[in-house]
Amino acid sequence: MKRYFGRKLLIYVITFFLAVTIDWLIPRLMPGDPIQNMLARAALNANAAERMYTYYTHAFQLDLPVWQQYLSFWNALLHGDLGISTYLFPTPVVDIIKAAVPFDIFLLLPAILLSWWAGNKFGAYAARTKRLDNTVLPIAYLLTATPYMWLGILLAWVFGIILGWLPIAGAYSYTMGTDLSWAFVGSVLKHWILPFLSLFLVGFGGWAIGMRNMIIYELEADYSHYLEALGAPRKLIRKYAFRNAILPQLSGLALQLGVIVAGALVTEVVFSYPGIGYLILSAIQNQDYFLVQGCFLFIIIGVLLANFLIDIAFVIVDPRTRKGMVGE
């Protein structure tokens, strides 16, 4: 087991190094000049622009040779310094991420986990159950195929504007500050329902369909027929089928959990929900190397971490993995 994780860890470290290098490189290949964009937005005196341009290019170390920029990037990174945003100058990148990411986690973590759990349960139950297969599953197909933007706007329109039950924008009421109180918590939850629901519904449909097809596949497998021939109860066969069908779903879950810190851009746009997705888009549009780098660094860490956790989970849920480790 030690060797298994040792090897995995080595692969993760190499992946991290390569991914962060690409993360550093890609923004610098974009057309445009971040310092120029920043100065144009900063209402500085144009006559002094040349001088300021030189000053900032130096301050952001963009005048150094590329290899030196790369080395000092790693140096700063290892000291926990992600630099200063040019798009939201002079805010440090760390502060921007710290302010935005909690909203994403609060919204996406429950949406992903609950839709995964409920979708798999329902998909497994619906497979080969004629009534459900013919009624509810088409709805799942519809949900997962719905353009997300449209579903979001529809929900906001019905529950927000026509019925007026729920707010259509923001993460908490625009009528209050952030003092921790019951009212604030209630407001946060109320504003959370619609964005959550929209993410949950789409996710639910996808997981349910995947699970249903997987179960049908497993029920056709030799071991199922063998069990059937032995006269095992239907419930037992389905239990075994579920255990096998859940494995690919687990990998899918890891992928989704990993990119939580990338936010949910479309949700943020439709419900005007604060989060990192919209900021990443703005950062890319404004050639903000440092904010783009910082955001993607956390995405890389998130993906690797989620994969690592799933590796551990596989050891627990899939006996074949354990068998393989003993055999080494």
């Binding site: 100058f89 625009y174 009528t175 109180s181 209630g186």
Partner: protein
Amino acid sequence: MWSRNKRVIGMMLVALLTVGLISGVAVAQAYERSETLYVSGAAWGPASTWNPFQPGNLANTTGTLGFVYETLFNYDPLTNTMIPWLAKSGTWVSDNVYDVTLRDGITWSDGHALTAADVVYTMNLAKEHEALWFAPMWNYLVEVVAVGELGVRFEFTDAPLYQEFDNNLYNIPIVPKHLWEWRTEEQITIGANANPVGSGAYLYDTHGSDRNVWLRNENWWAIDALGLTPAPKRIVDIRFSSNNVALGSVIKGEVDLSNNFLPGVAGLADQGIVSTYFEGAPYMISANTAVLFLNTIIAPMDDPAFRKALAYAINVDDIVNVAYAQLVAAASPTGLLPSLSAYADQAVVDALGWSYDPAEAAAVLAAAGYKDIDGDGYVEAPDGSKIALEVTCPSGWTDWMAAIAVISDSCKAAGINLEDVAPDYGAWNTQMQTGTFNMTLNNWAAMSNTPWTLYNLLFRHPIQAQMQSGNFGRYDSQELFDLVDALAAVQTSDIAGMQAICSDIQTIMLTEVPMIPLWYNGMWAQFSTSTWTNWPLDDDNDPSRLPTTWSGYWQLGGLMMLCELELAN
């Protein structure tokens, strides 16, 4: 037994939590609706700086200038009057000496008095720090001195730029010397200046990533001195990330004033669902001119005949009616806003102006030797080379994207091969400043007291490797530059003198067509009357107010709007 107990306890906890939440919501200490104004449309990202010297798009905190920091004068663009503000009066005692007398009894929000020392300190900042936007003023300013507690004397060289100086009078924020004098150059020019202390009508209250909240300054000097009190105790400035949310919020009455561009507002205004400044087209006040800059150092845009053909070829009516659904008005070929129409020489426009005329475009092209040689439907240059051009605007600016699509279509119809392309904002900006575009839209001249502001954008000079704030097409004409400089040096009270120079500028502009003014972008404003009424309207004979929350417009009538608002019954 134990597991059943656990379940019961769990259910009780959930019930308690629910009750707690519901009762919590019931006693919410929310801002009182009747004391709060909700606005949107000024911020495009999280707030990043409260530095009054960086009031542009960067800050995302409209109100830093106007709410917190104030200017010596305010300006009413609709009647073209300077309104004494921190200054009680300002007079030119000679051609190069300007005296300001401050109002007595103005205090900073920390209780210190605002005196001549603060004004002198602020003006001198630009002398020391070249990076501040008003530093060029010191090219013709000799010194600024305090005369007693409340007097300030500006002494100029022999050739002060009166037009620019007047503009500065209502744009330079006065900052408190006692809090700023120990700051470093970096803190002054680009520091974030968190928790700003100013003299104005509102105080910084709080901010979140999608909002800025301002609280009324109950000790504001103008409450006594001018009898002005802003009606809303709090202003919540919301950043929405999409138009549909902004629109939904105005319709629900949750947002009182939206300064976002919302396509289709004309229909909603006609149905009475939202209110706008004008009852019919163009619904919005014209706020700035959308100009098509032509890169005059690249062929064929270096040919005045080709540029004139473009001016005839572009169907501005389609931009107004299709791209904007009647929310804007077509621009005069001079580019001057209706509020500055006194400086547009109608005789010049009649003689040299243009309007959409495909036949005339074809005639001009043919006369200049542009012919379709290879039969692909598009003309080639007189030397036979192919013409393939691009017109750009930033990606995501949906109204401009629709407009460049119209420009492209109408040019193609006239036989000019022009594609519309929308790069990312950053790439667009870099292309514009480094002169690597063909044609692009720009509107960076705000409403102003002088036509010089527009000409300073259109004919910015000298031409440098990077043109950061004007003349992106690098149109080079010393004669024109001299005229713009001459205009800057005319006294703002000398209307006839200004008109004479403007007329000369327009003659060159309409003959040479260095760029093409197309339409007036609106001061987008749709308001709900469900909580607040008495919004600025066209018909109320009270033009000193502007229905806007945009940065840089508070001292142009935005603040007066707040003072005149009334609660709906």
